[in-house]
Amino acid sequence: MRIYTLPSTYWNAYDAFYTNPPWGASNNGQSVNAFIKRGIEAIKPKGIGTIVIADDSSLDWTNQVIFKTQEMLIKSGFIVSEMIPCLHEYHLDDAPELTSCCMLARNAIEQPKIDKSEPLSSEILKNFYGRKTPLTVRYVRDLSGLNRGKAPDSSYKLIPLEETL
């Protein structure tokens, strides 16, 4: 996701978007909405979106984030056309039983084509990955070079067979 703005090349260019965003547990769903906002900017009128977010009725924050997500979608001219609750498990060490829902949204009220992509505010970035866990990394640079997909040289050593007579 481009943090500051979505480049104009991508505006209203696609039929659909899919996102599996950060939890949004500590900023009232704003991390989720940030990803959906970029998805909406990227799709054509009458486009669709698929959103995978946490869904666990025993955790209040997931209910609040789902509510905020649906509210944002409606305000953006979308309806939630289908939702499969508690569909997947994340298999996380720190939340072994946490499940996610799959939400499908369809553009029902056509919005004007975008002519501007707004940057995310510093308020949204502050608790982006959890309380006091701001978004600080601009991007991840792949340093694997020609060794891409292979174990780094420093992580192993080849031990030759003993010479045989």
Binding site: A25, W61, Y90, D93, D94, P96, G130, R131, K132
Partner: protein, 188 residues
């Protein structure tokens, strides 16, 4: 002797035992020596439940901002962990900027370390049903429903809502230590 910890303190609950070929008693002796020499202890750990920058550091900062301290509390268990001779050479508070491990400190077979003041020993009973998970995707869950199985450590805070209707689960703590800045670090 009793261990005294203010109930409003933040706790990093951790099950401890044999690790990397050392018994718990050997680890305690080595870590006490570490404190004598270096003035800090790096308590090595691993797993995904108390990530340095996503869990421990935010939890510590929140707790301290609220005017409370944060402690590690250790429950001793029988554990199995393969011997290793891998000793960390560097540490980092943010995973980006790395420094040499300070003189006198040794972290064996661990990806992360909690930074501690002096280890205190004694007796302390902690009722996990009175605590809730304080950070991360399981935030708000009662600690007894979270700690168990492969979850052997957690950042927990007193459940201010009081009654949970959940049976008490008392944990016997023999060792504790105040956690100090930078609270948790990566090691390599």
């Amino acid at each position: 002797m009793s261990l005294i910890i203010n109930p409003k303190s933040g706790l990093l609950f951790m099950k401890v035992g044999l690790h990397a070929g050392e018994t718990f008693e050997q680890i305690i002796a080595r870590k006490r020596h570490e404190y004598d020499v270096a003035g800090s202890i790096f308590w090595g750990y691993g797993g995904g439940t108390c990530h340095p920058t996503r869990a421990v550091q935010p939890f510590a900062k929140m707790t301290i901002e609220e005017g409370n301290n944060i402690y590690i509390v250790m429950e001793e268990i029988n554990s199995h962990h393969p011997p290793t001779n891998i000793v960390a050479k560097e540490f980092s508070a943010d995973g980006i900027n790395w420094k040499p491990i300070p003189e006198g400190i040794e972290v064996r077979g661990s990806r992360y370390a909690i930074v501690l003041e002096e280890l205190q020993d004694g007796d302390l009973d902690i009722d996990l049903s009175s605590y809730k998970v304080a950070v991360g995707p399981s935030m708000g869950k009662i600690a007894t429903k979270y700690i168990g199985g492969r979850v052997d450590k957690a950042c927990i805070a007193l459940n201010e809502n009081g009654q949970t209707g959940i049976d008490p689960q008392i944990k016997k703590i023999r060792f504790a230590a105040k956690i100090k800045a930078p609270y948790a670090v990566f090691t390599r």
